[in-house]
Symmetry: C2
Subunit: 409 residues, 2 copies
């Protein structure tokens, strides 16, 4: 029996506990929020910053404020990249949506590998990744090979290796491998170093989707050898609904990457308005149209909080939170017909825990009505996102206690 007092004790000794006070939680609001992996909470600093940017920079500064805004995509990109992604300065830009960035980078990678005939991904990757790759494969007459990876543990060396070998044996050079670092459904962490290395062995670049890891799981893009990456900022980076995404292009491959949407913000000397497109040599080429200022400053505030907490401390708490959820699942939910749909090994588990149950859809609906906010994912998964900046151990206990009560009734 795991008593609530245990959760209270863990909160009391949590070195990150005070960060919760930096997020807008209305007094008396008893909502248990397990959806920070879909839409992170609002930092008070972001509310203030947005008011400042709207009222003073836009309202009073007007067009003159572009002098400082114009570098936001790369300045905040550098901050996010060096703090959260293990990237070097000049490798990350904030731009567009995750989907559009996926398109840009995947298209550029295919252009850079004209002999490749196959795009490889796995069946646990996020739907929009599949759709973008389907579109590019159709446009170019390429094969999209979607290999089966374990629904709980995600893509690994065996499953990716087999897919790469199968492509080669049929004579189809692999043009691109696209994978999620943390699976959106299972929360499984893919071994970025090994999988990148396997792809490079057959001459294929790797495009990583970091949407479900950035801000909760340490990422080492430089060390992994990854070529390209994208990710979103409205989950663990807490930058708000529809906040802009990021694009990473490794410095060494930047000379070979030309993204397909030739926009004026990716042009050298954009305000000279020359008639011929000359792409910016650096990461700024990924900035296409006029950058969304409100969204980017919200990203900056979100990253600043994560930076103060530190990725090591965030990861340590995340592992404890998800471990606590797994323990409660085993004790309370497994006897009621649930199964764990996330890795049991903490080293393979991101910051959300999924539990499967045949009635998960109904249970999630009922739970949300009771103020426990979580995601249902087809066909039978309830997803508990545990954000180390503001999720408490008592939240995990309370939310899972209510899930248990519902499932038992």
């Amino acid at each position: 029996m795991i008593p609530r007092a245990q959760a209270e004790a863990r909160d009391a000794s949590d070195p990150l506990a005070s960060f919760r006070d930096e997020f807008a939680v209305a007094a008396g609001d008893s909502t248990v929020y397990f959806d920070g992996n879909s839409l992170g909470r609002l930092p008070y600093a972001t509310l203030g910053r947005i008011e400042e940017v709207v009222a003073r920079e836009w309202g009073t500064g007007l067009i003159r404020s572009w002098e400082s805004w114009v570098d936001l995509p790369t300045r905040v990109g550098d901050l996010l990249g060096t703090t959260l992604l293990g990237a070097r300065p000049g490798e990350v830009a904030i731009a567009d949506s995750t989907t559009v960035n996926l398109f840009k980078l995947a298209d550029a990678a295919l252009d850079a590998h004209p002999h490749g005939r196959v795009i490889v991904t796995d069946d646990q990757n996020f739907p929009t990744d599949h759709y973008v790759l389907q579109g590019l494969a159709a446009e170019r007459g390429l094969e999209l090979r979607t290999f089966a990876s374990d629904p709980v543990h995600g893509p690994d060396g065996d499953s990716l290796g087999a897919a790469l070998r199968a492509s080669h044996s049929t004579g189809g050079d692999v043009a691109l491998v696209c994978l999620s670092h943390v699976g959106y459904k299972s929360g499984a962490i893919a071994d970025m170093n090994t999988l990148t290395w396997l792809a490079h062995e057959v001459g294929a670049p790797v495009l990583w989707d970091l949407s479900h890891s950035v801000g909760s799981v340490p990422v080492d893009l430089t060390g992994s050898g990854a070529d390209l990456a994208v990710g979103c900022t409205y989950k663990y980076v807490n930058a708000g609904p529809g906040a802009p995404a990021f694009a990473y292009v490794r410095a060494e491959v930047q000379p070979f990457v030309r993204q397909p949407i030739w926009g004026w913000f990716g042009q050298e000397d954009q305000f000279e308005m020359g008639s011929e497109y000359r792409p910016s040599a650096g990461i700024r080429q990924q900035v296409v149209g006029t950058p969304p200022v409100l969204g980017i400053v919200a990203v900056e505030e979100g990253v600043r909080i994560l930076a103060r907490a530190g990725m090591d401390a965030l990861r340590a708490k995340s592992v404890e939170l998800t471990g606590f959820a797994v323990a409660l699942h085993d004790e309370w939910l497994a006897p009621l017909g649930f199964t764990l749909a996330s890795p049991r090994d903490p080293a393979r588990r991101g910051s959300h825990v999924s539990v499967a149950h045949p009635e998960a859809r109904k249970l999630c609906q009922a739970l949300i009505e009771q103020g426990v906010v979580l995601d249902f994912r087809t066909p039978d998964v309830a997803r508990l996102g545990l954000a180390p900046l503001y999720t408490r151990f008592v939240d995990v206990w309370d939310g899972m206690d209510r899930l248990r009560a519902l499932a038992a009734s």
Copy 2:
């Protein structure tokens, strides 16, 4: 001699004068703002709405607010389209940037016209339009034919007709015509009906860039027969720095338009997360990734104000404002070596007036330092954007008076 009293009298009888009070203008701020065609002013309603959306909808509602946010791109698209563009419901979505939307629609048009070999545009079109078309032409091995249009009066039936005939005579079917409705430099209004008809005569669709007309010049997409259009919302729609753009696809051509970035927000039943992309049948297909909520609500507020003023009244005031600027140019600036770089015929003139002078770059810099904010455009153009919602006749008089004094000294 045009006395300042004349400007004062015209302000006193301006039926739209009170709308200026709805915009954030700091007490005692004597800035003369001629850049509403680059970044429109902040409406107070937008400041309040953004605070509300951030603090309450995001901060308290959290993920539950997506229930109302999910339809924002098409709901606000309908409002903007029916109010400002002469579009019908279901033809406009708010999404991405103008550049990305140009790419999506131009690419879709080229796919729909596989026999076409030529893309036609004119040399007065906006740089990002050129760049996007250059990228698509390079990718597909098509010819981009950039015809010379009059620098002051923009593309017309003669210049476009000649370009279309030249393409035909060299055996190159025209796949797409892309033009700006109002020229970014001259402010010239293109005859949308005639030019669309000419393109259709050779079987080519037309993609209109409405960035410099939307909210200041009436647009009749339905009546003109236009196929596709894009435009931005941070100019006369006053939706803020980097606010999202819009995409228009005529209902009759929607069945033939499949944009290339297959994103989960353009998918039918997106939350079922099916493995195969099935594009939404309607305009929602243009919504690619997660929509930028703060940007879209700012568009909604901006359109609401324009709707209350009414496009007829806005156009009437815009014509008076630009006419006043032309009169002041003739009396004050022409003797100092300026020439008018915008059409003299009010029916051909949008809501900004450009004046050319060999020292325009220096003059603009000095003028901005004196609090008269305007745009310089290479090589020799000073651009005065006159926004009928908040620009006063005394602003025109004061700003041009200072320009005259600077140029004379």
